[in-house]
């Protein structure tokens, strides 16, 4: 392997190329053969189809393994290894180097997608003669083929590098600084790419004309699965930014972040509105559109951030794949809209929603808000491009814009989270609402009082606390009622797991409001032996130390907080890239974090250093909220106690004490 790295063609490159081309051909033929077999009813051909999925999955895996091998064995014959590999990078970050630049991230995408395709095939291979399953798999094959093509052609993942190169710079120093780079991208991709599965089933439902509720049953859990991973992936990204970037924030409304947030918004809308369709058979076009929008937004987001048309700190600028992604996005939109238009007659759903004051009504309001939210984020992200195209002017749309618009939306969503869980299906009376919301409202008042007591003074953060308490009260009420009735099973199932997720989201929202609104920043030139006071804490510089690793050298300042343990923010110079990277040091606490960064220092043993201190309230609760979101998603994925027969007419009364909704049964049937 090592010798191969020095020759013009790398063995890894050869194997990788071959794997990609085989995968590409297999996926294309898989799609064609499956479509043909389904149309003609050729059962013999149908039986051979799973092999295409195994081969596609296997070649994607092989390509990834080969690239990993090339990185770990320093095969500098490959351009990608020259770009991100380095002999001095520790093994851990060498593994993470697989997704630290464009080519590798496409490979990761491909592996995830081909893996999903193979898994869906494994799960449903006995039912391939069902056209719905077959067409869904055709869609999966087509998307997989597209990404094989992107990896093989325009990106040319396994391109040969310049001859004679024996070492490289390694990944961007920011990407070899924290263990989270191991987890954030793969988990995010599991979610981001996972929305391909429900999308494929939605398209299959349109093609077969079976737009009833059958296809929903197949995909609901997949959508939830993707949503859970996307949520966790986004949060891990925020955590990484907080621990590494040194500006003490978790979210900057950067285009790349927005690209992951957009499908999250439409996906969230979907996992709520799908309940209306399941229960009442309504909103068919809407739900299919949400799934299509979610998938299309993942492609559009990738286009925006991977084509180099938008500048961002963590976009991989590369012009070659842009046109293909944009073209693919166009194809998705045109094909989907045509299919919806074609099936329009079947998509009209029966039934009415009796009253806005009902669970259906709340889900619809939720959908309007989430869609508007997604629109705002998309508009803000692409607006500079629009202005540039129309008037040839450069403008910027930044964090303050997004903050200003997302705040009211977030507050209304919190209010909705308080009211919606207590609403029964069909119709609610105000007496019922007064009765069920009283205790949650009391909790809201208590939370508001706490916020006032600790000194919150902006109306937005006060409302966030008050409404957050209100919403948490409603979620807790549901959980208490459900567990009282069913024991531990009251925590399982969609409605109850969903409430755990709600609690997590509320914690995150309140923690964001608190930390955005009440961060205190001070910058000090600290001298050894002269403590500095700031916001009720004292900081004392103990000493400035030098440290050195194989690939970097740096200085760290030992700062003791309140005379106790010392924290050591550092500046590291990565020799190969010549980049200075600041590393913050954080004292985490239940009520607030103290976040230190080293801004300026002269040399080891210096008697002074410039230190920036951020006091950030409630950050820890964001991570706890993230834990609750994942826990709740897992709980929600378990089936509830009694499930409604999907074949039952939509108007049939729900089994008494339905675990999925946790509704008091007598009201559920009103």
């Amino acid at each position: 392997m090592f010798a191969a790295g020095l020759t013009a063609t790398s063995v890894n490159g050869l194997v990788g190329h071959s794997a990609l081309i085989v995968g590409l051909v297999t996926s294309v033929f898989g799609a064609i053969a499956l479509a043909y077999a389904t149309i003609t009813g050729d059962r013999k051909l149908l039986r051979t189809i799973p092999n295409y999925a195994w081969v596609a999955g296997g070649t994607a895996l092989l390509a990834t393994v080969v690239m990993m091998n090339a990185l770990l064995t320093y095969d500098f014959g490959l351009a990608y290894v020259q770009q991100v590999g380095s002999r001095s990078t520790p093994m851990l970050y060498n593994i993470a180097a697989l997704w630290s630049a464009l080519e590798g991230s496409i490979l990761l995408w491909l592996l995830t997608l081909a893996g999903y395709t193979a898994y869906i095939m494994k799960r449903y291979r006995k039912r391939l003669d069902d056209p719905l399953i077959a067409w869904a798999l055709v869609v999966m094959f087509v998307v997989t083929a597209f990404f094989f093509f992107i990896a093989f052609g325009p990106t040319d993942v396994f391109a040969n590098g310049e001859p004679g190169v024996t070492d490289g710079p390694g990944p961007n120093p920011l990407l070899q600084n924290h263990i989270l780079v191991m987890f954030h991208p793969p988990i995010l991709y599991l979610g981001y790419v996972g929305f391909t599965v429900p999308f494929a089933f939605a398209i299959a439902a349109l093609i077969t004309g079976r737009v009833g509720e059958g296809w929903l049953m197949e995909t609901r859990r997949w959508a939830l699965f993707a949503w859970g991973f996307l949520s966790i992936g986004i949060l891990l990204g925020g955590w990484w930014a907080y621990e590494v970037l040194g500006w003490s924030g978790v979210w900057a409304w950067d285009p790349v972040e927005n690209a992951s947030f957009l499908p999250w918004l439409t996906g969230t809308a979907y996992i709520h509105s799908v309940l209306v369709q399941e229960r009442r058979g309504m909103l068919r076009v809407w739900n299919i559109s949400l799934l299509i929008a979610t998938f299309a937004l993942t492609i559009l987001g990738t286009f925006l951030t991977r084509s180099g048309i938008i500048n961002s700190v963590h976009a991989f600028a590369d012009g070659t794949i842009g046109p293909y992604l944009l073209g693919f996005f166009g194809v998705i939109v045109v094909v989907s809209l045509s299919l919806i238009a074609w099936r329009g007659d079947r998509l009209r759903s029966p039934g009415t929603i009796d009253s806005p004051l009902s669970r259906e009504g709340a889900f619809l309001a939720n959908n309007v808000l989430f869609t508007v939210f997604a629109f705002v984020v998309l508009l803000g992200t692409v607006f500079p491009l629009i202005v540039e195209a129309l008037q040839d002017r450069q403008i910027a749309v930044g964090q303050p814009f997004f903050d200003r618009l997302s705040m009211p939306i977030g507050l209304v969503l919190l209010f909705l989270m308080a009211v919606a869980p207590v609403l029964p299906w069909r119709k609610a009376s105000t007496e019922l609402l007064r009765d069920r919301l009283f205790v949650p409202a009391c909790l809201g008042v208590v939370c508001l009082a706490v916020a006032v007591a600790v000194g919150a003074d902006a109306w937005a953060s006060l409302l966030a606390f008050g409404l957050g308490g209100f919403a948490a009260g409603a979620a807790l009420r549901q959980l208490v009622l459900a567990t009282r009735r069913q024991g531990w099973r009251g925590l399982v199932g969609r409605a109850n797991g969903g409430m755990v997720v709600h609690l997590g989201i509320i914690l995150i929202a309140v923690a964001l409001a608190a930390s955005n609104g009440y961060t205190r920043v001070g910058e000090f030139t600290m001298k050894v032996g002269e403590p500095v006071s700031f916001e009720g804490h004292t900081f004392e510089l103990l000493e400035v130390e030098a440290f050195e690793t194989e690939r970097s050298q740096g200085l760290k300042a030992q700062v003791s907080i309140d005379g106790g343990q010392a924290y050591a923010p550092a500046i590291t110079r990565f020799t190969l890239q010549g980049m200075d990277i600041g590393t913050p040091s954080v004292r985490t606490g239940l009520t607030k974090d103290i976040y230190l960064t080293l801004e300026k220092v002269t040399e080891a043993g210096a008697s002074e250093a410039q230190i920036k201190v951020f006091i950030k309230p409630m950050i820890l609760w964001m991570w706890i909220g993230g834990g609750l979101v994942s826990l709740g998603t897992i709980l929600a994925a378990f089936p509830g106690k009694r499930r409604r027969d999907p074949r039952a007419p939509v108007s049939e009364p729900v089994p008494v004490g339905d675990a999925r909704t946790g509704d008091e049964p007598e009201v559920a049937r009103v």
């Binding site: 009833g212 029966p350 009415t352 009796d354 930044g398 006032v452």
Partner: protein, 185 residues
């Protein structure tokens, strides 16, 4: 609960429960809403009016993009150019002559309009503020219209044609049939 188990109304627990129920239907809510409002107003009133120069600089620097980096604000960025702008802002703020808008206009004049992170509400840039409001208004109106229509239609009655369709479908297949379900729509 059978009739024999029903407790006499004199039971203090039942009376307490009834009282609790009455509280939740009226007086309790008045107290809750009042408390919420009072706390909110009190909380806002306790806010300090005067911002310190540092807070003003922080607020301003969050609205200015670092001219030489990708997508970071002057507040977040750590490079010398941003530090220079922060010093400039501090000087202007401590000078006390200019309003926030004037300071931002001055910065814009020096570095170009693409350093302002908050688009202005004039010209075509205003669209970025108007369109979200229009989208929300559109969504809410659409929802209101849909509810009006649903209310007018009332409960959907099956027509004879619908019944015929269902019967035909049932005859064709006894199991779950999406075709028939689709046709019902």
């Amino acid at each position: 609960m059978t009739a024999a188990e029903v407790r006499p109304p004199a039971d203090p627990r039942a009376a307490r429960r009834a009282g609790w129920r009455r509280l939740k239907q009226g007086p309790g809510w008045i107290v809750v809403v009042l408390l919420f409002g009072v706390l909110l107003v009190f909380g806002i009133a306790q806010g300090r009016d005067a911002r310190t120069p540092e807070e003003r600089v922080e607020e301003l620097s969050k609205q200015i993009a670092c001219p030489i980096c990708d997508g970071e604000s002057v507040f977040d960025s750590r490079n010398p150019t941003s530090a220079a702008i922060r010093n400039e802002l501090l000087a202007q703020v401590e000078n006390g002559q200019s309003s926030d808008a004037q300071i931002l206009a001055y910065i814009e004049e020096r570095f170009g309009e693409d350093v302002l992170l908050v688009p202005r509400a004039e010209g075509i840039d205003a669209l970025v503020w108007i369109l979200p409001v229009m989208a929300l208004a559109g969504g809410v109106t659409g929802l209101a219209i849909a509810f009006r229509r649903w209310q007018r239609e009332g409960g959907l009655e099956a027509t004879d044609a619908d019944r015929a369709l269902v019967d035909a479908a049932r005859a064709r297949e006894t199991g779950f049939d999406d075709e028939a379900e689709g046709a019902r729509g």
